[in-house]
């Protein structure tokens, strides 16, 4: 008996250790004004079961629907496709202990369910998609942020939809530097890897283009590549990181950390007037709770929604392009949001920077300097 209760106690510890990383605690919920990230009843894939358009299968990354950022941006694409293309859709969620086989299984299950295209959100799906795509030549596969086409080079039904996050981040970097009174700004990244470093590099370059001597604090939630949960599903970690930056004098903090970014907003709201947070991927002003909205300066838009919509359209029009498809500033694949009107007075300067990028006058680095 004594032993049993000890085992049970340890199970609880183990469970806590698990959920401690993966929980949504402190996420603050959708806050009401959200059109996505809501409950099952407003799910377009459930409410609409037939349509003449393509049937889109979407496999989410860790964090899933409701992160109000990366994954929700993909979901927004589904909503648009349902509306514009009369499409229907099927969704599948990731599990924290996925491996390449389980990811491949997810894509196969979608493909066999009669969907086309299958869109996988997140580069982790790349090896899986590269394996599965040749098995289903009649179905088109796309990986957001992926590199699958470098593995399965022959596949004509496999596309990697990538984004010039550095360009979008450059613009919010400009906005941050212009808005900052203290001369100190911050960046909270999820997992310290190639992808998020693109955000960092662009942000830093943008800020320095305005104030060359600006002080930029940079923190990643984890160094551990395989630990997506700590990086992207960790609002309390995001909150702690941002709190430290605000206390240290930073007055604008940009996050590229998925759901962990919700914690950054909480920290901004707590830091109060004069302190700002910048969202990522989606227009996060729209989904933030009322108390946080006044603190969200802008959001770097990564138009995953556009990519999803266009993938659906390509299937419908039979115009699928394989290989890398890059969404950059010029093609409106990235940008910044103006909801809340806090950047209205900076708009000319930001747009000027955007024009310089589009014209090629400025090249935004994709890697941090050091």
């Amino acid at each position: 008996m004594r032993r049993m209760s000890k085992i049970a106690a340890v199970t609880m510890v183990g469970a806590l250790a698990l959920t401690g990383c993966g929980s949504n605690s402190g996420g603050g919920g959708g806050g009401g004004s959200s059109s996505s990230g809501g409950s099952a009843s407003e799910d377009v894939c459930k409410s609409k079961t037939d349509g003449d358009g393509p049937k889109i299968g979407l496999a989410y990354d860790v964090g899933g629907r409701g992160d109000q950022s990366f994954n929700d941006s993909a979901y927004a694409g589904l909503e648009k496709a349902v509306e514009d293309l009369d499409a229907t859709c099927v969704e599948a969620n990731a599990q924290t202990d996925d491996n390449d086989t389980t990811r491949a299984e997810r894509l196969r299950t979608l493909a066999e369910g009669g969907v086309n295209p299958v869109i996988a959100v997140g580069y982790l799906y790349s090896p899986a998609a590269a394996k599965v795509a040749p098995e289903y030549p009649d179905v088109d596969f796309a990986v957001i942020d992926g590199y699958a086409s470098t593995i399965a080079t022959d596949a004509t039904n496999l596309a990697d939809l990538t984004f010039a996050e550095n360009e979008g981040s450059y613009l919010v970097g400009v906005a941050a530097a212009l808005e900052s009174k203290s001369g100190k700004i911050g960046f909270v990244g999820g997992v310290d890897g190639e992808l998020i470093q693109k955000f960092e590099a662009g942000y830093v370059a943008g800020a320095k283009s305005v104030k060359p001597d600006i002080d930029i604090a940079i923190q990643y939630l984890t160094q551990d590549q395989a630990d997506a949960a700590t990086g992207y599903e960790n609002p309390s970690g995001g909150k702690a990181a941002a709190e430290a930056m605000y206390q240290d004098g930073a007055d604008v903090v940009y996050h590229a950390a998925g759901k962990s970014g919700l914690g950054v907003f909480q920290a901004a709201a707590a830091a109060g007037d004069g302190n700002w947070a910048i969202g990522v991927d989606s227009d996060q002003y729209l989904t933030a709770p009322k108390d946080q909205q006044p603190r969200i300066l802008t959001s770097m838009l990564k138009r995953i929604d556009t990519a999803v919509l266009e993938a659906g359209k390509a299937v419908q029009d039979d115009s699928w392009k394989s290989g890398f498809v890059t969404y950059d500033l010029k093609s409106d694949g990235v940008g910044y949001s103006t909801s809340g009107g806090f950047v209205d007075d900076l708009k000319t300067q930001i747009d000027e920077a955007a024009d310089q990028i589009k014209s090629g006058e400025v090249t935004v680095p994709a890697k941090p300097e050091n």
Binding site: T11, A15, T102, Y123, E135, Y147, G193, Q225
Partner: protein, 373 residues
């Protein structure tokens, strides 16, 4: 006790637990407004050939993880650090194999040993801290998990290479890779070659526990530390050795996928198996056969999670809840069944001895009934 009755008693707890868990989950689905009928339809559908292989693959991995945890549990050592141990071991093996210092399968064999060694050493830290400084292994292994993750992150960022947005160790040479075994001719999913490790680990675990002195000392310490000490077991040494063995087995967890599929350690390395292994060990009552059963149940559930999600629109979170509920139900069911068994046995002994004529010799040497315990 007749064979049938024995079997009934042995199976009673897991079956009872599964039934109870099923009922609770149904209630949960009703409460969340999900599709209960769809849930049961998917859960009771015979999986496709492909899924069967995938379940087998996942089972072998979970089995190794379960055994790693069970080795510690058997002597009341709670090695929560399997997670960190297998990731560090996997990383070391991946990095080593990628360097291709050794030719062909020699490279593979040494890489496997490296994984075990690194896993063992990482666990050994917690063992030494517990034995000689009294630091709870639960606390120290949780800390070591975090340190392992950061350490890998640092090393891989420093010396790894990038593929697209992913970062990983160098891919191992073709000659050191282990192929897959086709179970069904048409299935695109095949068995990991190193899945065989699970069989080796399972048999080894059974032999270790039931046929070696070390295993006896381990079980004795777990069953009653005071009795073990009185019998001459050096518990400090046992703690360290047990952690080393547990960590060594943990080092193997990530290898089947690495040698048969990803060929390197990188962003897509499967995490979380160490924690699942704890649950699997609990479900299997730390018994070599029981753990296999537990691994199969968990692999089945996580495989079905995809189908449930896609076909019935049920969130994978429900599957995670189901797994948790099953573990709790099993723990409770075993307490209930165990009490029943103890009472039954005592009553049986009393009855048998009452029947014997007074002063008569006891019913000598009962049949050596297979009694593998």
């Amino acid at each position: 006790m007749s064979v049938v009755r024995r079997a009934v008693v042995v199976l009673a707890a897991p079956v009872l637990a599964l039934v109870v868990a099923g009922l609770i989950v149904s209630g949960l689905l009703l409460a969340t407004g999900d599709d209960v009928a769809g849930f049961w339809r998917v859960m009771t559908t015979v999986p496709s050939e492909r899924s069967i292989v995938a379940i087998m693959n996942q089972s072998t991995i979970l089995y190794v993880s379960g055994v790693a945890a069970a080795i510690g549990f058997r002597m009341n050592l709670f090695n929560i650090g399997v997670e960190g141990q297998y990731r560090l071991g996997g990383f070391a093996a991946g990095a080593f194999a990628g360097q291709a210092w050794l030719p062909g399968y020699l490279n593979t064999v040494v890489a496997i040993l490296v994984a075990m060694l690194v896993g063992a050493l990482w666990a050994g830290i917690a063992g030494v801290l517990r034995a000689y400084r009294g630091v709870s292994e639960v606390i120290s292994t949780i800390m070591l998990n975090a340190i392992a993750g950061s350490l890998i992150g640092y090393l891989i960022k420093r010396w790894g290479e990038s593929t697209g947005n992913a970062t990983n160790t160098k891919a191992m040479p073709e000659g050191s890779r282990i192929g897959t075994v086709a179970v069904f001719p048409d299935s695109p999913v095949e068995l990991y070659g190193l899945g065989l490790l699970a069989v080796v680990v399972g048999v080894g675990f059974w032999v270790l526990l039931n046929r070696t002195r070390f295993g006896f000392d381990l079980r004795a310490t777990g069953a009653s530390e005071s009795a073990a000490v009185a019998s001459g077991v050096d518990t400090r040494r046992m703690i360290v050795v047990t952690m080393l063995v547990s960590g060594g087995v943990a080092g193997l967890i990530g290898l089947p996928v690495m040698f048969s599929q990803s060929y390197n350690y990188g962003s897509s390395f499967q995490t979380g198996l160490g924690f699942t292994g704890i649950a699997v060990a609990l479900l299997g009552r730390n018994h070599p056969v029981g753990i296999a059963f537990g691994a199969l149940v968990f692999a089945y559930l996580s495989q079905q999670a995809n189908l449930l999600n896609i076909q019935a629109g049920i969130s994978p979170d429900i599957i995670e809840a189901t797994q948790g509920i099953i573990v709790l139900a099993v723990v409770i069911a075993y307490v209930v069944v165990r009490r029943y068994r103890v009472r039954q046995e005592q009553a049986q002994v009393a009855r048998q001895l009452d029947d014997a004529p007074p002063g008569a010799a006891p019913a000598s040497a009962a049949t050596p009934a297979g009694g593998a315990r």
